[in-house]
Symmetry: C2
Subunit: 499 residues, 2 copies
Amino acid sequence: MADAPSAPTAPRPRSGVASAEWLAGGSGGADRLAQLLPAALRGMAAGTAERGGPVPAGGPAAVAAALARAQSSGLPRHGVGAEQALEELSALLAAGSADPADPACAAHLHCPPLAVSVAADVVASALNPSMDSWDQAPVASEIEREFTTGIARLCYPDAARPDAVITSGGTESNLLGLLLARESAVTRPVCGANSHHSVARAAWLLGLPAPVVVPCADDRMVPSALAEALAPLGAQAVVVATAGTTNTGRIDPLPEIAEICRRTGARLHVDAAYGGLALCSESLRSRVAGLELADSVALDLHKFGWQPVAAGVFAARAEADLEALTVRAEYLNADDDTEAGLPDLLGRSLRTSRRPDAFRMAVTLRALGTSGIGALVERCCANASGVHAMVEDHPALRSWGAPELSTVVFRPTVADELPGTAGDDLVAQVRRTLLEDGTAVIGRGALPTGPDGEAQLWLKLTLLHPHTKPADYRALLDAVAAVAADLRASVTRESPIAS
Amino acid sequence: MADAPSAPTAPRPRSGVASAEWLAGGSGGADRLAQLLPAALRGMAAGTAERGGPVPAGGPAAVAAALARAQSSGLPRHGVGAEQALEELSALLAAGSADPADPACAAHLHCPPLAVSVAADVVASALNPSMDSWDQAPVASEIEREFTTGIARLCYPDAARPDAVITSGGTESNLLGLLLARESAVTRPVCGANSHHSVARAAWLLGLPAPVVVPCADDRMVPSALAEALAPLGAQAVVVATAGTTNTGRIDPLPEIAEICRRTGARLHVDAAYGGLALCSESLRSRVAGLELADSVALDLHKFGWQPVAAGVFAARAEADLEALTVRAEYLNADDDTEAGLPDLLGRSLRTSRRPDAFRMAVTLRALGTSGIGALVERCCANASGVHAMVEDHPALRSWGAPELSTVVFRPTVADELPGTAGDDLVAQVRRTLLEDGTAVIGRGALPTGPDGEAQLWLKLTLLHPHTKPADYRALLDAVAAVAADLRASVTRESPIAS
């Protein structure tokens, strides 16, 4: 096998044949990365320029065609070398991405990541600590412990021994919330109609009954309805409340819910994947008051927290609750190794091999501090208030309600002029039109606002870009109104009876 | 809030206060990364030099002390700025890591990643596609589809419609194997005594009964014992076979196992997390023959595949089997959006938010081709054969058996001179001594080699460094022998009766 040809000064992997020069770690790893990264960044810059907006125009067909032009299908038998592969595919990815660093990409809880976190992750990837045993992750496991302890204390400032583990996001955190309940013989999930789909999915995965669904008003769980649901269940129930719903960013009345759970003996898990990091802001912290009364909490630093996906944390008020995750594997955490002082990491996750995602979170916190993160959360929430005010003033838009976090929910008024489901169809088409045009990525959500409480479709902006002003969203609101008016006009032309 | 002070030519985030200059994406994202990455790489290079070996010396106490010196405990309220945080913590991580790019770090299925994959991941992190909806991951979802289809075809060259999804590793893939079985009313897991601990853990998570454990010989499942176990279970059973065990790298007799499953109507899942990528090598592919007969297969490209953790794939012979993962969430994959042509991604994983790990895998395959990956697998397996021959020739070491993949299992002969569990204690101490010295990271595994078939402890080298020669491991074997002799001598001195 021939080695890669070397450039006169620094060897570079130019051919598709790997040599020792290809490894990211070891004594020359940083140099090799320094040689390769420019190709990736060149491709990224070129692709971003080519895209020119928040999302590629043309919808799925255009994007699939761009991929087909860039490479033949199937796994290639022979390679083209590292630099070419990096530059070409990075350009393709950037040109074909929905970039949350563009203010008009504002559909989901999909944040624009901080460069400091992205850069930190390079070092984690290169050294590749795997979080399933100490001898694969000596200091990475200590950094994770330090970080998770910090998050646990943020959630539970007064608990004696809180603890937290890293997860792949709210979905896994909610699974853990139900799993820990199941392992303490609590087998009946109860959640609000506003809860994330991962709660029902976790129940299914764990072999638990489908959750009892508690009615909501204004997208918040109704405490009296919860009390009624818990009456026959009592200590058999684990309640999942939400601090920041996906549809509207609403926060359930946590203190009242916690009190009802205390009275009935039910466990309480709070899905604070969205709202949890409001704890970093002095001025917003009160919005999630009551979080500290939960038995467990889900938080996502890939929402507020500005980490690339995934950056989930699951916090438990009582460290002992996490013992349900204990597992032994002789090759990873033999009893005699644990007795000899090697920390046992395997019980810190449902996964085995696991990236040190805590590293980039810890670097970000070291760079910005909780106050820096809190300031970014405040900006997003202030933007949402400002955009909401613009919606209220807009002649062609109707607001669902004032934002509690950073989600703005609204509907083009022309949708209300259409009968039956035609209004919802128009709302859905507005979103798809803007997406397929490449103009904007905005979200949707069904809320029970119809005349008889039936679901209606709303548009939403989930504002996670921390460096915009409300005025940056004016053109987007106008575009929604204009597309809605066009669609309304075409409905009238096509079936005048509908008007 | 003050903006960060700007350098004359290019603005840099120097203070702990975030401004727009801090985002990794958008039009200036590549430039911002280019400014920040040198700090991370400088720290990484300095920390690697400080470590100077495969793992920091001093064990857990020394590593924890280094972290305590580097930062105060808890989450900092105020930040130090991006460059300082990056450089200091990257240095700390590198100095305190077990680096698999050092040949003496050879305990686990813990590979040294390729720089091309690490560099590709930077672009993925910066653009942050989240794989739960098309409007968060337009081209990333297409790249993933292309890649998973390629892997599915690699596993199942003759199947009509194979499919594959990305997972967080063998543990999640094994969970999917049992979950898909459960959803087709197959509820009794059966696995070899050689199977990974994640099989039993998946059964527990899913609310299934604990697996029936089939005896092994030579760390391979015994087909006649499997037939016996299946006799009362038949089509109720899902069998998990292993292609590359954690302890020894042995591969179960897949064609015979598949035939027994076919005859009894049992489902078959193969955990090929370790051995699966042997499919890329013309000369080694026959070792995993029979993989294509399984209903599903787990593969990890963070083992052979040289990806940073995590890079798991779960392949299914019949695309339709994956329908068990279907889930609807109005905000992510509403029926009308799917009908309008927006691809539905939510049923491609148990997770919701999800990194585009397929991107760096696809870039790596584009750079090297399957032939390039196959060549690396061949090197590791050839190294293992060479090191095994050195063990056989070594006067102070005893081999467990010839390697089938890249794992070499051996034991210092002095351990056999000690009575009772004292021999195992010595073996365990050899490993810990080398680890705490900072000399080497080697593995351990219990195998039923005692006089009456009871477990004995063995040492192992899992060779995943593709750019070494057998001779590079000679000093390591000698170090094992020397430490074993020292420990044997101290046992004799302390309790002469034991000799």
